[in-house]
Structure formats: C-alpha cells, structure tokens
C-alpha cells in the first residue's frame, strides 16, 4: 500500500509539474492575446458601466474595458496537497442556539469517513459552564487552528497546516507517537489502537468506494491505518464536488455553516448563504478556548434564544457511545 501510494504521489507531483509548465506557457500566450484585444479597444466606446468593488464601493468603468473572464472550473484540484487550495481560507460557524443533539452530523461523519473504534471525530458535548447557567449542546470537531498545537509538536510533519486553513494528517507517514493528541487542547484527535475494522461500518459501500480510491490526507478514514492518528479533515473531498462537508449537510437544524473567509460568506445545510462578518458580529461569535492562542477556524455562536429545549436532546444522549455500530 505504502509503495503504491508513493508511486501515485510521485505521479501526482510529475503531473503537477507538467501542468504548471503548460499553464505558465498558456498564461504567456493569453496575456499576449488580451493585450492585443485591448489595443484594438483603446479608443473607448464612451459607454460607462457601474460596478461594485470587493469592498463595496461603486465605481464607473468604460464598458469597452470590461472583458468577461472565464471562471476556472478546476482551480480547486490543481495544487499540492500539502499547500492547499490557492486563495481560499475555510471556516466554519457552529450555531449553539440551534443544536438539539440530534446527532445527525455525527452519524453522517461516522458513516462517510468509515469511522470505527469507539470515539467519533465529531462529538456533541453536554455543556454547563456553571450551576447558574443553562446547559446546552456543543458540537466539537477539529478547530483547524491557525496556530495548531498538534502541528508544532509532530516530529515528522505527518500532520500539517495548509494555506487554505486545513490541518490534515498524512497517515502514511505518522509514526504513532501521539504527541499531537497530547498537544491538542480540544481533545479531537483519535487513535487507531488496533487494526481498524472499517468494514463493520458499511461492508459493501466501503469496498466499492475504496477500490478506486488512492489514499490521500484529503480524505481521512479512506482508509484508517493501524497505529496512526485520525481526526476531522473539514471534508476537502466534498469541497471538490462543490458540496458541503458531511456534518453541515446532514444537520436538520442548520447548526453548521461552512464557507470561505476570503469571500466572507458561509453556507448552511439548507443552502442559505450569509455574510460571515455580519453573522459573527450580530450574534457575538466567539472561538473555543480563545485565550490559549491556538486561533481556531471554527466560530461558535452563543446559545441564546434557543430553538429547542435542552431536554429534547437528552433523548439521544448516550454517555458511552459516539460511534454507532451496525446492528
């Protein structure tokens, strides 16, 4: 497996290099063409157009200056796995006011990542800060910290931070020292203490899925490897398909929002997109254990004006189980 993967990685690098050269040459050609196009248009048509810049100011431009550019459809796929998708910065918002511990997020995450063992990557905590405060449900997953403690301590660079914000694990490299687990203040990392019995999650789908899958840090749990660490990967495999991470899509209460900080937009499971900065400001968004300085990429909205009763969630609460085993 390791050998095969190395090969495929080499191939990938090879391809990446070639693509890079081709696009560089292509880019040169394109810029020549556009300069020619522009040259024919220099006299200007006199028609003015109103446009809005990214910071919201209205400007006027001569309409002849405006050229339609084609959106690159595949720019999310051409990059180094360790570098990340260019010009993106993924964030998540968790609205604690809406969570009623339905655990659909956890189920979906467990199923789609073939999580085995006893400890799920996404957990819903029963929280109560003090006796005077009302209890609430708090979903937790890897916070994809901008100053990740786990990455600092890893001796072999098996867990790494990408420019697009994701913290991923190369399970083919991990030596199983568990230092990262000791370092993570959010206790979100899980270990494959034995040979992962992933088949028990979903025998048929797994074999079909994994057959044509090359292991990559971008799809954790595909497969899980004995003696290495796993955790939430923020689902880059879903992002490629232009879909939301499994938990976001599965939540019936729209607790999760996922999006890009550079676009200042996050989308919830029902497909509503909102302005991130506005949401955080209006709802007093905060980060978990912010004082530690880990700078998480996950924001929390406080559990005020609750959607449902806390008690409703107790029905699903199970102290001992976060990974549902097949019957």
């Amino acid at each position: 497996m390791e050998e095969k993967n190395k090969n495929s990685r080499r191939k990938f690098l090879d391809k990446g290099l070639k693509l890079g050269i081709v696009s560089a040459i292509g880019g040169l050609g394109l810029s020549k063409i556009t300069s020619k196009l522009n040259a024919t248009n220099t006299d200007g048509s006199g028609d003015k157009m109103e446009l809005m810049t990214t910071d919201g100011t209205l400007i006027q431009v001569d309409s002849s200056e405006v050229i339609e550019i084609e959106h690159p459809t595949d720019h999310d796929k051409k990059y180094n796995v360790r570098e990340g998708m260019p010009n993106r910065k993924f964030v998540m918002v968790v609205d604690l006011a809406k969570c009623t511990n339905e655990l659909k997020c956890q189920e979906s995450c467990n199923k789609n990542h073939y999580i085995t063992g006893d400890n799920a990557w996404l957990k819903v905590y029963k929280m109560q800060e003090s006796e005077k405060e009302a209890p609430y449900w708090m979903p937790t997953l890897c916070q994809h910290c901008d100053k990740p403690a786990c990455v600092t301590v890893c001796p072999v660079d098996a867990t790494f931070k990408r420019k697009d914000g994701l913290v991923l694990i190369d399970a083919e490299r991990c030596i199983g020292c568990r230092f990262c687990m000791a370092a993570c203040p959010y206790s979100v990392r899980v270990f494959n203490w034995s040979e992962p019995a992933q088949g028990e999650m979903s025998e048929i789908t797994m074999h079909a899925d994994m057959a044509q899958h090359t292991p990559s840090p971008e799809y954790a749990g595909m497969p899980s490897i004995k003696g290495t660490v796993d955790k939430c990967d923020f689902c880059p495999h879903q992002i490629h398909k232009k879909e939301l991470p499994h938990c976001v899509a599965a939540c019936p209460n729209d607790v999760f929002y996922f999006g890009d900080m550079y676009e200042d937009a996050v989308t919830n499971g029902s497909g509503q997109t909102v302005v991130l900065s506005k949401l955080l400001e209006e709802r007093a968004g905060y980060k978990l254990l912010e004082g530690l300085g880990t700078a998480p990429s996950v924001f929390y909205l406080p559990p005020v004006d609750r959607l449902g009763d806390f008690e409703e969630g107790l029905e699903n609460y199970n102290e001992f189980q976060s990974v549902k085993k097949p019957e």
Binding site: N119, V153, P155, C177, F179, V190, G227, F320
Partner: protein, 439 residues
Amino acid sequence: MYTHKKIISDLAPKKFGKRDSIWTASLIVIVIVGIIAYIDQLIKGQEVTNMRDYALWGIYISNFVFFVATSFVGTVTVAILRLTNNSWRTPLVRIAEIISVAAIIMAGITIMIDMARPDRLLNLFIHARLQSPITWDVVIIPTYIVISLLLLYFPLIPDFAILKGHFKKKKPKLGKFYGKLALNWTGSKAQKLLQEKSIQILAIMIIPVGLLLQTIDAWLFSTTYRIGWDSTNFAPYFISGAFVAGVGSLITLIFIIRKAKKLENYITNHHFDKLGKLLVLACLIYLYFSINEYVIPLFTAKKGELTHLETLYSGTYSILFWAVTLLGLVLPIIILLFKAGRKPLPMFIIGLTVVVGAWWKRYLIVTPTLLHPFLPIQGVPESWHHYFPSLHEWLITIATLAMAFLIITILVRYLPVIPIQRTIDEQALLKTNNNPTES
C-alpha cells in the same frame, strides 16, 4: 594497606557464583517474557495496552522519563565528584557510569516501545522537523549514549592492560579480550596525558548534554497546553528530580554490588556517609522545586488547575501522591540527617524507596494530567475515564527494567567496577604521604 597483587585479585572480574547465575537467568527469563508481550503488541496494536484516546500515554512514557532521569547519575557524579577531584569518589564513579549507560540505552528502547509504528522509525530522520521536542530527543539521546560510553571506556583502558596480564596464564582467551580493549596501553607518559585530556573533555561535555537531556524531557510536556504540564518550572523540576533518582539508584546498586562482590574493604561506611549527604542535598533541592510546582500554584490556580491539584491532594491520586512525597522525599531527608541513617543498610532501604518513589512520581506526572483535558471527557466508554496499565504494559515495562539490570550485571561481571589502576596509584600516594591509617 594492600599489596598490588591483592588489589588486583580483589578487584579483577570474577566468575559468576551460583547466586549470580540464578539472578542473571531470571533476568533473561523476564526479558524474554517481555519481548513476547511486545511482539504481541506489534501484531495486535497498542490495543493491548490500557491507553486510549484520553490516557494516550501511559507507563511506557513515565518509564521512559524515569530511565532518562536515572541516567543523569553519570552527569552528577562527573560534575560533583570527578571534576572537583573528590578523593572519596574513586570506588563509586565507575558504578555510576555503568548505571548511566544502562539507563540511557533503555530510555531509547522504551520510547520506541511506545511508538505505535516502529516500522516507520526512519521517518524521524527522513522527515525530521526541528520544532518538535521529539526531534531534539532524537538528537540528544544518542549523543548522551556516546558520551556516556566513552566516559566509561577511557578510564578503563589502564585497567584492561592490567587485566590482560592478570588473565594471561589462567584464561588466555579472556586475557586476549582485555588486551584488545586495552588498545596497546603501556602507561607511558604521553599515553597518560592523552587519556587524561580526553577524559577531561568528556567530563566537561557531559554536563551541558546531561542538563539538556533532562530539560528536553521536561519540554516534551511543557510545550503542550495541558494543565499540570504547562509549567515554566518544569525543566529545573525535572533536573532536580533526576538528581534524586540518579543518586538513589547509585546508592541501591552500590550496596548490592558491594555485597555480591565482597568489596567491603573498598567501599566503606565512610563512602555511604558521603553518599547519604549527597542524597539529602538532592532531596532538598527537589523538595524546593516540588513546592514551586505543587504548592505555590494553589494561590493563583484557575479552576482547571485547582481541580488537577485537588485530584493529587485529596482525589483519585492522593494516596499515591502522598506516599511518593512523604516516603520518597520527606522521610529520606529526615532519616539521612542523622548519622545512623547514613549507615549502609538503612541507606540501601532509603535508596530503594527513593527510586521506587521516583518511578511512581513519573506516573503521577503523566497520567492525571491526561485525564483532565480542557473539555470534559464524554461519549467514550466508561473505562476510558481511568487508566491503569494492562498486563502487557506491566510485562513489557518490567522487562525493560530487567534489561537495565541485565546490562548492569553483564558490565559488572566483565569490568572491574572499582578502578584498579587508580586504587593502586592512590595507595602509593598514601604510602609516600606516610599516612597508612586510612584504607
């Protein structure tokens, strides 16, 4: 006053007696059982341990920290005894260096036992990342092993030359073996100068390396955010703890070796008295840093910290905590302050309690902290809320301890544990000083 002949025949390595053979054989059996358990762990995975996602480190790590701490004895004896040229050190330093070598080798092996993917050991070099304290360990431990080995070997060279002559007729094979190790030693002035210089350089080198080793060990913990580890006091605390563990194990082993090899004439009550004073000093320094670590935080502790301290003072770990603190630290200080307490037998008992206490202290450093993460432990089986080592962990850990004893036993069997040449030289010096009363 002894003649050269008597000194040599007293101090030259002797064949194992029956008792020694039984001892060695039992060590080998324990090691083999441990290896079998380890192979089982390799096949089944760390699942055979009782470590889980919360108690993600266990006695493998605390045992590792213990070995690293014990290996500090080499540095201490060099720093305090060799460099200051204390005259009473002669019969003690070599034993200290033997312990140091055995302990640091076992530390290296123990940390690999904890690794879940030892097959990827090379990744530590191929993909080494400088900012991880583990990488610093990968550098410092081999360095310390090399320096300790050389520091054991260089002073041995003249003794090997003596042994070569001693065994020439009786056991030509053994004599030849020592001859090879003696590297053409003739005892000429130039050779002596070179040897002395090399030892001096090593002795100066081992001090910063030894201190660094303990410091890095502390940083393994204090570079995390965890309550109970995230302490700026940790490095000096570890160094002082290592001082205690090292001197404690030295006293214990010296007592055993003296008995087994009948060295009462060479290692006297006087030596124990001095060592006792050294141990008191070590314990007092350790007590000082322990107060810094466990008492002072009480005044400013935040909620999480307080819970952590409470589990030690009155909670789940209180019995162990107080046993380790009172029996392993306070009581030894009190007993050792009296002259009668510094006699060989009481010293042996104290040394043993101190070492056992030091081992469990490392357990208390690792385990309680892991079981008090920032977020509450939820959604995992009940058994994950606690940690106590499994049978596999015990078998393997005991095997590592047995292996350390085995290394020491073999070295003690084949090396003169008390430097022969030096003892002869010192006797000669005494004679010329016309002061033949002391031995």
